[in-house]
Symmetry: C2
Subunit: 198 residues, 2 copies
C-alpha cells in the first residue's frame, strides 16, 4: 500500500479518516496560517479560495520532505455573506460569533488537497450550507456553559456532532464536508493511487 | 420539560438522540414487525409506506400507555428499484445483499413519527440515495470478515460510520437520515412541545 500522511492535527479529521479504514500517519505542517490568511485576504481572496490555498500549502510543504507519499491537506473556512470568520480565541468571542450567525445561513467551505512529491495532484472544495434558528440568549448561555473551551477548536464555534445541533434549523450538505474532511472523492483518489484496496 | 420516549432499541438512533442533548427514555414497542411488513407488502405497499407505517405503529402503541408523553417511533427501509430489503439474518445473506447492491444506487427511507395520547401528531419520511462502487469480491470478503455479525443489525448490511464507507462511490442525503433518525424536524417538534429549550 502507498504511504499516506494527513497534514492536520484536527481531531475530527483524524477520526473521520481512521473510521474510514485508511492507514495513515499524522504530520503537522507548521504553516503560519494566520499570516498566510492575512496575506490572501489582503489580495482580495474569498473564504473558498483561502480554504483551498491553505489545504494546498499544508499538503505540498510536507510532501516535499516525503517522496512518493500521498499527503492530504485540509482546511475549512466559515463564510457569512462572503466574509471569512476564524476560530474564536475566547468564549466571549464565540458568544459574539454565535449571536452574529443566529437566524442566518452561512457556508462552510471544506478544502481537501492531495499532494505527492511537492505537487498537488487532486483537490476538492465542497461547501455545506447551515441555517441557525433564532435561539434565545438563555439557550446560548447554557450551551456555552456546557461546551466550554471545546468550542474554540472549530471555525463555527459549534459542536454539531453534539448538542450544538440544537442551534440549527436546517443543514444542507455532506456530513464529511461539515466535519472538515470531504471523504468520498478522497477515498476514490486513494484507491486509484494504491493506498486502499479495490 | 415534557417527557420523551424513543420507541426503538436501535443503538444508532439512541446515540443520535442522546448526542443531540435530548432527555428521553427508551421503551421497546414489541410490535411483530415481520408480520406487519408481510401484511403491508401483500397490500401492495412500497418501501417508503412500510417505513412510515411501522414508525407510526411503534409510536402509537407506546403512546397509548403513557398519557401526555411524546413518543418517537422510527423505521428505516432499503429500497432497490422499488423492492424492499430486510435486515440480513446471516453473513452469507449479507454477502448476497452487498453483491446485489454493488454498482447500483439504492434508497434508504427513514421514517420518524411522533405520537401523543395514541395519535400521530407529526411525521417525516426523508430518503437518502447511496451508490455502491464496483468493489472486488476480495474487498467484499475482507470487509465481511472485519465487520462480522455487526452487519446484521442494519438494513443495508454496511456500517457507513466505519469502513463500510469504502463500499460507496456516492452518498446523497442527510447523515441523520442515513443513521435512521432524521433529526432537524424532530428537534423543532420537540421544542414546540416543550421537550427542549427554545
Amino acid at each position: 500500500m502507498t504511504d499516506v500522511i494527513l497534514a492536520s492535527k484536527s481531531q475530527a479529521r483524524t477520526a473521520v479518516l481512521r473510521a474510514a479504514g485508511v492507514s495513515f500517519e499524522t504530520v503537522v505542517a507548521g504553516v503560519d496560517e494566520d499570516a498566510v490568511k492575512a496575506g490572501l485576504l489582503a489580495e482580495g481572496q474569498g473564504p473558498r479560495e483561502i480554504a483551498d490555498a491553505l489545504a494546498e500549502l499544508k499538503a505540498i510543504r510536507i510532501s516535499r520532505t516525503r517522496p512518493g507519499t500521498l499527503v492530504i491537506g485540509a482546511d475549512q473556512t466559515l463564510d457569512l455573506d462572503g466574509q471569512l470568520f476564524d476560530k474564536a480565541q475566547t468564549i466571549a468571542e464565540a458568544r459574539d460569533r454565535l449571536r452574529l450567525l443566529r437566524g442566518k445561513t452561512h457556508k462552510l467551505h471544506s478544502a481537501v488537497v492531495v499532494a505527492r512529491d511537492g505537487e498537488a495532484i487532486w483537490r476538492e472544495v465542497p461547501a455545506a450550507r447551515l441555517t441557525m434558528r433564532p435561539f434565545s440568549d438563555a439557550f446560548l448561555d447554557a450551551f456555552l456553559a456546557r461546551a466550554g473551551d471545546e468550542l474554540l477548536g472549530s471555525v463555527g464555534c459549534y459542536r454539531l456532532e453534539d448538542d450544538g445541533v440544537q442551534l440549527f434549523s436546517r443543514i444542507d450538505g455532506d456530513y464529511f464536508t461539515i466535519l472538515g474532511l470531504p471523504l468520498m472523492g478522497l477515498l476514490d483518489l486513494l484507491r486509484r493511487h494504491g493506498a486502499l484496496p479495490l
